[in-house]
Symmetry: C2
């Protein structure tokens, strides 16, 4: 009964990390416009100052700030207009004491100027003279070269998930191809004599397979490529052959199903035989998620994952193990959970990490209330009603109503 020797989630995670030590995620270069959602495989260092010249943040006159001292609403200072800066052009004018140059918003600040007076505080006195009605300090209305990004500065770190705003940063630096992590290739196998494909009508005693679709969508959500999927009858040789074949072109082979004792042992024995050093995890101290099996095959570089047959449990375990592993191996950071108040007393499973599904409600004062969604782990509707989950540590007896919890998105 090896299934009794369960690992904690933390132990299982560390075993995966150790087993896959030499399995570096591959990288690939992507066009920036196609890179949204991908994970940066390198630090990005600014190759130049952004902006690389001093710019005005307003429409106005570039001046020597000292020249405006004493100017005010009713006491103008008069400066000679030495020229006008055109948008998108360099400027060869120089601002010397007693002169000013017109600059549009975003235009280049001429040599010698150290401040800009907004056009609202200026008046054309003649074609060649401006009356300035405001005193400005040095640096007024100027963005200095490098104010946005400094040459040599690391502006995005390896592991950054490319959001629209980080894509904007890369565009500003002229980086239109980026090195990102190649998504893992995953194969999904669902087993069970009772399973039929979703498009079929189940006969007596049969149910539609949920896990293939659920794990497929979750894999895509994590950015993985699904290299294949199959729904199999419960037959050891069939599972063995299908998994062995899938290992040829997958980083991960996921097998779900087999909820009865005999079937669980079968998945266990198949993974045990296929993994070069046998299965290393034969169950998780997690509720739900006990019948989880893990192994790694060195020659083919494949992680083998046996998931519980119950859809909600399968998807949660997939997220807690495979999702965590991808994030950890690619240098990503865990998304911030919501902070919420638990709506009711909640017992936990002694000696196990409890993963409690909750849905969120916003209270009148803006804070969030986490309401447990009850239902057996076999029920997919339970999972779909939940916004996230709360983890209750193994050494905790449960949660007290009103206690503050972190809610992680599913």
């Amino acid at each position: 009964m090896r299934l009794l020797n369960v690992d904690t989630v933390e132990e299982a995670r560390q075993k995966m990390i150790s087993a896959m030590e030499c399995h570096e995620p591959e990288t690939i270069e992507k066009e920036l416009l196609d890179a949204k959602g991908a994970t940066l495989a390198e630090d990005i260092c600014a190759g130049e100052n952004v902006p690389f010249f001093r710019r005005s943040t307003v429409d106005g006159y570039a001046v020597k700030a000292a020249d405006t001292q004493g100017a005010g609403e009713s006491i103008p200072v008069f400066l000679n207009i030495a020229g006008e800066v055109e948008m998108g052009k360099g400027c060869d004018q120089t601002v010397t004491s007693g002169t000013c140059v017109y600059v549009p918003t975003g235009g280049m600040i001429p040599e010698g100027a150290d401040g800009v007076v907004m056009v609202e505080y200026c008046e054309l006195f003649s074609d060649s003279q401006a009356a300035i009605y405001q005193s400005v300090p040095v640096g007024a209305n100027i963005v200095e070269a490098g104010d946005d990004m400094k040459e040599g500065e690391i502006v995005l770190k390896r592991g950054t998930k490319l959001t629209p705003q980080s894509i904007g940063v890369l565009a500003a630096l002229g980086i239109t191809r980026v090195r990102v992590y190649h998504p893992w290739r995953i194969s999904i196998i669902s087993t069970g004599d009772e399973l039929v494909a979703p498009k079929e009508k189940p006969g007596p005693g049969q149910v539609r397979d949920i896990n293939t679709y659920g794990i497929y969508a979750m894999s895509r959500q994590l950015g993985f490529e699904v290299s294949g999927y199959a729904v199999l009858k419960d037959e050891r040789s069939l599972l063995f052959k299908t998994a062995e074949k899938a290992m040829e072109n997958s980083d991960i082979v996921v097998v779900s199903g087999g909820s009865s004792q005999g079937k669980k042992d079968e998945t266990n024995s198949v993974i045990d035989e296929l993994a070069s050093e046998g299965a290393f995890t034969h169950g998780l101290a997690l509720k739900p998620g006990k019948p989880t099996i893990l192994g790694y095959d060195k020659p083919s570089k494949t992680l083998l994952v046996g998931l519980p047959g119950h859809p909600a449990a399968a998807m949660l375990v997939f997220k807690l193990l495979v999702g965590w592993l991808w994030r950890t191996r690619t240098g990503g950071k865990e998304p911030y959970p919501w902070t919420a108040e638990i709506s009711t007393n909640l017992p936990a499973a002694p000696g196990k990490l409890t993963c409690q599904l909750v849905h969120l409600e916003r209270m009148e004062d803006g804070r969030l209330l986490a309401c447990p969604v009850f239902g057996r782990s076999g029920l997919i509707s339970t999972l779909s009603r939940a916004d996230g989950y709360v983890l209750i540590e193994e050494n905790k007896e449960g949660l007290k109503k009103g206690e503050q919890v972190s809610v992680f998105e599913i």
Copy 2:
């Protein structure tokens, strides 16, 4: 100076809704495996009970619960074994008083049975008799037909963003094609004499265009299709022609740029001319985001959006207006914000909604701290350092250190 008549964000939103009243988002049918992230365009009603037969949640013996009364660890009850249920098969056995039938986890509960005793509490006494060492109540270890989803029940609502778990729900119901909203087609135009494409090296006074890439990525994040993008010199006739052409195959044409007064007026006048009833919003009471222009052209069914030239402002306004509009028109719900404590006193712009960028830190007790990210709205690095934004209402003077705020993800 029509630009002085600014709208609040709420007013601008309502004007968009009114203008687009007859512009129903189109729908499209998608294969379930390709539907992740799409928005359901219809309520989903369970066409059948899930499961549609009574199932066992354990390996054990299906019994009449009353027969087990009085059984205990040392006092077994003996029942005749009337047969065995096979996984994925119907069963024609009936459990009558004094008999039991073996059922695997997930197997069909035979007629007559109203409870299951786990195999751990049973012993084979002979080939045809089992000793039962536990008393079980009616319903023990049984999932009733419809326990997961009841026939006729609405299980997913229009507007649901298809997550892996909702895809699981659809798979369970045998729904492998779903009607979802057709993504809006968007064209993105950046204007500015100072702009060069990101892959070019800027000359004196020039900068790389950020908005095309940023808004492109943000559009993809919202699920839109980008039907075209262009970076243009500041020339009214060029902008007019490009926007007019884009209206032929777009639901939305976004123009960004023109940060100087003259250029802002130009975008305004182009949108004013292209929209069948002229522009309806000529500025937003939002900081940053004032130079925002909105109009709608009825004949071509196109929303025209003039965004601020500053990248951070452009992306925030795009999210607050276009992102909001898509969610509202497709029946979606706003994602739950994080609840956090603001780390410092923060003044707000009087009479304007202030959109303050913040980055989050997790405090020791698990709560989140929202730390303002300061920097001019023209700086893209400011936006990329932020995890989200806090909205400070127009009638609020600012935030006090330690005050609780809602942080919305960018």
